[in-house]
Subunit: 223 residues, 2 copies
DNA sequence: GTCTATATGTGGATAGAC
DNA sequence: GTCTATCCACATATAGAC
């Protein structure tokens, strides 16, 4: 018989993980749903199914735990974006893959959301993962666009850094518009718009197949 | 001699206003700075320089006061945007004026920020002003672009609704990127990018002067 | 109308037992 | 390592005096 006598709350889907890992994952979820100020240690503990002592043993406090969660989320997002941007195809195709990838639009971006949280932005430590993630994203998109320009697929006058920032901004702003409307339509429209503008930068004399005008962008968005 | 005997805290800049108006303005500021969850009645009262009784006399509670503040802010934003979009000039010029207008980028958008607040988005009443404001904005930009297409200034293939959503998203997303970086540069880059893409939609055979390639977008952004 | 006093819950963390 | 008990401050609202 085990000495462990407290399966108090089986945290639905994290049964076989250690307390530390459960704490990080629960925090990731709550930060996404409620933001930093809106997330209390109590809520984290309940979701993770552990007691307070457990949390303060592994982490120095709320901000320390949030730091671990934010870092984890940023890494996850980076990996998801890289999967689209590193795919085979033209530069347009790869940027389109990133823009059209399946997203639960109405939930918003777990990293972008942190940006609206005063306590996060004011802490150099908590802000660092956001800065690093978005910096990387813009550079990576710019790289793809630069390849497109060098390969003759995209117009030589295109400014890769500026358009990369535009692409990243459209996604983040699309979330904002969609949440205001409680409808994914504005997100889809914004993506469609920037893709149409980008498509018109295709030279048509590219090595690869020229991108067709983007369709209605019927990405399978969840709620 | 006046019976009023409590100039307890002169609320810096709102001296001559009634308590109700001071409460609304203080709430507008605090919602912008800290969001809905991060704003306590106590903080509002302190900034407004009034007591609790005063607040609960004019408003039923925090959410009621927030509603008044959000409505006010949405109206203000609408007026500011209309000023740019209704200006004389080509469609490109008017959209550019909106995108390049002076903004305190690192503070973010007071309306867009509400979008990240769970309690706001989940309340139909609190979300309504956001929905209405962003809906109006996108329609208004689309109108301007439609005029540009009809007048032959912009390419006939341009989709005004989609590009309008893109423009609105670039602004909102630009705020997110800038706050993550604690630097206005990503905002400026995103705006520069979308303007360059839009400029390439100009036919060059327009009635008005064809827009020059957008410059470095040295808008006088404050911190 | 506006103020102060009071009430109840929660936020975030510490102490110390097992 | 993990739990429970305890602590103080604050969030939000009500009651009632002036």
């Amino acid at each position: 018989m085990d000495t462990q006598e407290h399966p108090s709350a089986p945290p639905a889907g994290q049964q076989r993980l250690g307390a530390q890992e459960r704490l990080v994952r629960s925090t990731q979820e709550l930060l996404w749903e409620r933001g930093y100020v809106g997330t209390s240690p109590k809520a984290i503990l309940e979701r993770a199914g552990v007691g307070q002592g457990s949390m303060y043993h592994h982490f120095s406090g709320k901000s320390d735990l949030a730091l671990a969660a934010i870092r984890r989320t940023a890494e996850d997002m980076k990996a998801a974006a890289e999967e689209c941007l590193a795919a085979p195809g033209t530069a347009y195709d790869r940027v389109a893959a990133y823009l059209l990838r399946e997203r639960r639009v109405l939930r918003g971006c777990p990293i972008g959301r942190m940006t609206q949280d005063r306590d996060v932005v004011r802490s150099a430590e908590l802000r660092a993962p956001l800065d690093e993630m978005f910096g990387w994203l813009q550079e990576r998109i710019a790289e793809v666009l630069t390849e497109g320009v060098r390969g003759g697929e995209l117009a030589a006058g295109l400014d890769p850094e500026a358009v990369a920032a535009t692409v990243a901004a459209v996604v983040q702003g699309g979330y904002v518009l969609a949440r205001a409307a409680d409808d994914t339509a504005p997100f889809d429209a914004a993506v469609r718009g920037v893709l149409a503008l980008l498509a018109s930068q295709a030279t048509g004399s590219a090595p690869g197949p020229a991108p067709a005008a983007p369709g209605p962008a019927q990405a399978p968005h969840g709620r």
